[in-house]
Chain length 195, copies 2
């Protein structure tokens, strides 16, 4: 059973063009962008888009998976950093500023988009795993309160992202996000005074 056949050159080129246009379009305006608009920006016909990605969700997923994989790589790097606390919080900031410029990620995290397929679920599971390790390490180092779990933090990341988008601050873009993340720090004065 030949599951894979090499794509023709022009087909591969068009596929890349579509993905590039979709990246920008979804990043700028979220999942609401019409497919025809993406096709127009990519310089191909609407039919071509549909052939490469049978449904709109499929295209959206392809873009989101790319971003999630990038985040997973970032999280792995953060896990190798020395200082547990700063690595954790820096990664949180990175997630929000990343998703800030990429509306699609926010849509995906919020689940506003659609029912995502198995590919996305697998990548998301990977990210969650690394992320949980990062969190646990920060909690052991007593820089993050211990009464929150990974899902809580994920919700708070989405929250910070919302705040940031609501009140775009050009001079200090991460100000509100950093403020919100402060609520994750432990309560005891000793730990707080260390930051």
């Amino acid at each position: 059973m030949r599951t894979e056949r090499p794509l023709r050159a022009d087909a591969r080129r068009n596929r890349e063009r579509i993905l590039l246009a979709a990246r920008h379009a979804f990043a700028a305006e979220g999942i609401g962008v019409p497919l025809d608009e993406i096709a127009r920006r990519a310089g191909v016909g609407p039919g071509t888009v549909h052939r490469h990605f049978p449904t709109k969700e499929a295209l959206f997923e392809a873009v989101v998976v790319e971003h999630l994989e990038q985040l997973t790589r970032d999280a792995r790097e953060a896990l190798e950093a020395d200082e547990a606390g700063s690595a954790f919080f820096a990664f949180l900031i990175r997630m929000t500023s990343e998703a800030h410029a990429k509306q699609d990620l926010a849509d995906a995290i919020a689940g506003a988009g659609a029912n995502l397929g198995s590919a996305t679920l697998r990548v998301a599971a990977d990210l969650r795993e690394i992320f949980a390790a990062l969190l646990e390490r920060a909690q052991r180092a007593n820089v993050v309160r211990t009464d929150v779990d990974a899902a809580d933090v994920q919700a708070i990341v989405l929250a910070a992202l919302t705040a940031q988008r609501q009140r775009a601050d050009t001079t200090r873009p991460d100000r509100l996000a950093a403020l919100v993340f402060d609520c994750l720090r432990p309560n005891d004065p000793v730990a707080r005074s260390q930051r």
Copy 2:
């Protein structure tokens, strides 16, 4: 110039029915609900909805204004409470849990809905004014950090709402919201230990 003519009895009854149905529909699913669905739930024809509210935004606004007015009343009450800090934070929690059950408010705050009319803007300005007073009082009492303004707090309310919706906790529905609001408290250990 007779600007006002008393509405006929059945017209007034239908108007109330539509508003009631719209309240529930918008609260449950946000602004995305089709007008025909609201008409169906209200037990009237789609044309009737359109006659009472010339556009969809008009109906949405009518519902949102009701909620904003309620919130404004709550804020005024909170301003008369004795303890500045608990009044402020209790009002924040109230806002989020209110908006939690009312998707429409979240849409309105986030501006996701549409360009709102002058009526909404006026009510929103009222609420902002009272809210700013509430915040300033809490800041003077040293229970809220002084490097945030009302717009920051509004963004954070929206953020807390997002977190709460993301991770619905039936046993402690306000847990995440309260957690997020903690980031508004001052940093110095003395003030923090008082809570």
